[in-house]
């Protein structure tokens, strides 16, 4: 065991965590203020989602779920906004809903920031519908599997869905062409795959936080046609959208802009890890182990 004070390397190996916090804070603040951005290349796992949405014919029915809360808005909101813009650009019928109570404000934000701002000509109830929140977790998906209007009897404004033109011909989940689940926990994408998309043979695409993404890889590519993982995934989708439809460049680059601070933060973390290992090998801890 190294002495209390120790060499310089020992002290580096035991640096106060508050210095690390300061470094991370600066690594995020400075690139954000300097508007530092880096090029983003769309990987195949994200490109698959884009290509699927792009290939759907006009009028196809897409469920878009906002199963997340305020804490993961920085990761999930850019991806859901980009997907919604893409779907509306392609004139697909979009069915917004959420299984989280805290998803309601997220749907309201989508209505305000995407629908009202970029597509004011689209008619609620005809081109898109906000079905709001339904409690019951995977039970709701189970219910929607066989009786979708029964699972969501009213929209977010309280209108009976059977009176809405967009719900004409919809009896069950299998009547949809695509489910895009944007989520950050339970209930979320896994439940949509297990209880919805897979039994109903409806393709499922996912956008989740970076922490959730590794758990969904087993479902790719059979039960999950594509996966946006964290801010990187959101940025990749935005990059694909902006590349194909440059008119959205000013409106759909939130994640791309935030990748600047994330990249710098990653590099700072790597630097600390390398520093820690140098301190470990050069300092007393490793030498003590070798002697032992």
């Amino acid at each position: 065991m190294s002495p209390a004070g120790g060499s310089l390397f020992d002290r580096i190996g035991r640096v106060d965590r508050r210095w690390i916090y300061v470094a991370i804070a600066l690594a995020v603040i400075i690139p954000l203020m300097a508007k530092l951005t880096f090029p983003v290349i769309t990987t195949p796992i994200v490109q698959n989602i884009f290509d699927k949405l792009d290939s759907l014919p006009e009028g196809s029915r897409v469920i878009l779920t906002a199963d997340f809360g305020p804490s993961t808005v920085p990761e999930n909101m850019p991806m859901i906004q980009a997907v919604l813009r893409h779907a509306l650009h392609k004139k697909l019928k979009v069915y917004l809903l959420t299984l989280w109570a805290t998803g309601i404000p997220q749907l309201d934000l989508l209505e305000k920031n995407v629908l009202a701002a970029d597509f004011p000509d689209r008619v609620a109830g005809t081109d898109w519908v906000n079905l709001g929140y339904k409690a019951g977790n995977q039970g709701v998906i189970n219910s929607a599997f066989s009786d979708f209007p029964g699972a969501f009897p009213v929209d977010s404004k309280g209108h009976d869905v059977r009176t809405l033109p967009i719900m004409a011909g919809i009896k069950r989940l299998a009547d949809f062409n695509l489910i895009v689940g944007i989520g950050s926990g339970f209930p979320g994408v896994k439940e949509w795959i297990q209880f919805g998309g897979d039994p109903a043979h409806v393709p499922v695409a996912a956008g989740v936080t970076a922490v959730e993404a590794p758990l969904l890889y087993p479902y790719y590519p059979r039960q999950l046609l594509g996966l946006m993982g964290g801010l990187q995934g959101a940025a990749e989708y935005e990059a694909a959208l902006v590349k194909r439809y440059p008119e959205y460049q000013s409106r759909s680059e939130e994640a791309i802009k935030r990748m600047g601070p994330q990249t710098v933060a990653h590099l700072v973390i790597i630097a600390f890890i390398v520093l820690g290992n140098i301190a470990f090998f050069a300092g007393g801890e490793f030498k003590g182990r070798k002697r032992a």
Binding site: F38, P70, P105, N142, Y217, T263, I273, G276, N277, F281
Partner: protein
């Protein structure tokens, strides 16, 4: 005996019913109905929890225990949210409107207080990930070294720097580029590990659930006899 036997009996009957409902037709509503019953019980139990919360913090204030000013803040916040939500104070549509309607006090509390507080707590993770990584990723042995190398590849692969660092690799060796290695680790190594852990967890869940349904495991009831 009835204090332990009755809950075990209820657990057994409901457990078997749910299993049967999965394998036999005609039980479509069992799962969703029982889930709703649970939600109702949990909602009623909230009254218990809320009452306990109030009692505990009011007691702390009364006895001036350390930290009692924060208990006042807790009680005020609790009562404010309860009253604003229950009575839909400031709601332009009155009592018939949704509780989170724009302009309502509840909506204000959500936008001005709940959202920023939640985002702040979640943001702590960014700092804690850095300090945990600094401490944990030391090449102490072979396994730790493998973990370190994988972490570095993934961290770099998630940024454009990874691609730039290995862009010089000739085409036949492009599979060694950091982004490709990162994808390989996620879709092969990570996938295998995740599947193995998920299978183990699944078996653990089956075993624990069976033990609970059959009354073999009863320690959660406070009794150990079976």
């Amino acid at each position: 005996m009835i204090r332990v036997t009755l809950p075990v009996l209820i657990t057994s009957v409901v457990g078997f019913l749910l299993v049967i409902a999965f394998f036999f037709r005609g039980f479509d509503r069992v799962n969703s109905d029982l889930s709703e019953y649970f939600n109702i019980i949990a909602a009623v139990a909230f009254i218990l929890g809320g009452g306990n919360l109030l009692r505990m913090h009011l007691d702390k204030v009364q006895r001036r225990r350390p930290g009692w000013p924060y208990s006042i803040v807790t009680v005020i916040a609790f009562l404010f949210t309860l009253i604003a939500g229950l009575f839909k104070v400031g709601n332009s549509q009155g009592w018939t409107g949704p509780v989170e309607a724009q302009g309502s006090w509840f909506n204000f509390a959500y936008d001005a207080m709940f959202n920023p507080l939640q985002a702040t707590m979640f943001s702590l993770l960014a700092f804690f990930v850095a300090s945990a990584s600094y401490r944990a990723f030391r090449a102490r042995n072979v396994e730790a070294t493998l973990l370190l190398v994988a972490a570095l590849i993934i961290l770099l692969g998630r940024t454009f720097v990874g691609g730039v660092l290995t862009s010089w690799l000739p085409q036949p060796l492009q599979f060694l580029s950091i982004p490709n290695l990162s994808n390989w680790i996620m879709s092969t190594v990570n996938l295998a590990g995740a599947r193995a852990i998920i299978i183990g967890i699944g078996l653990g869940v089956i075993s624990t659930s069976l033990k609970i349904i059959l009354g073999i495991e009863r320690s959660y009831l406070g009794g150990r006899e079976s």
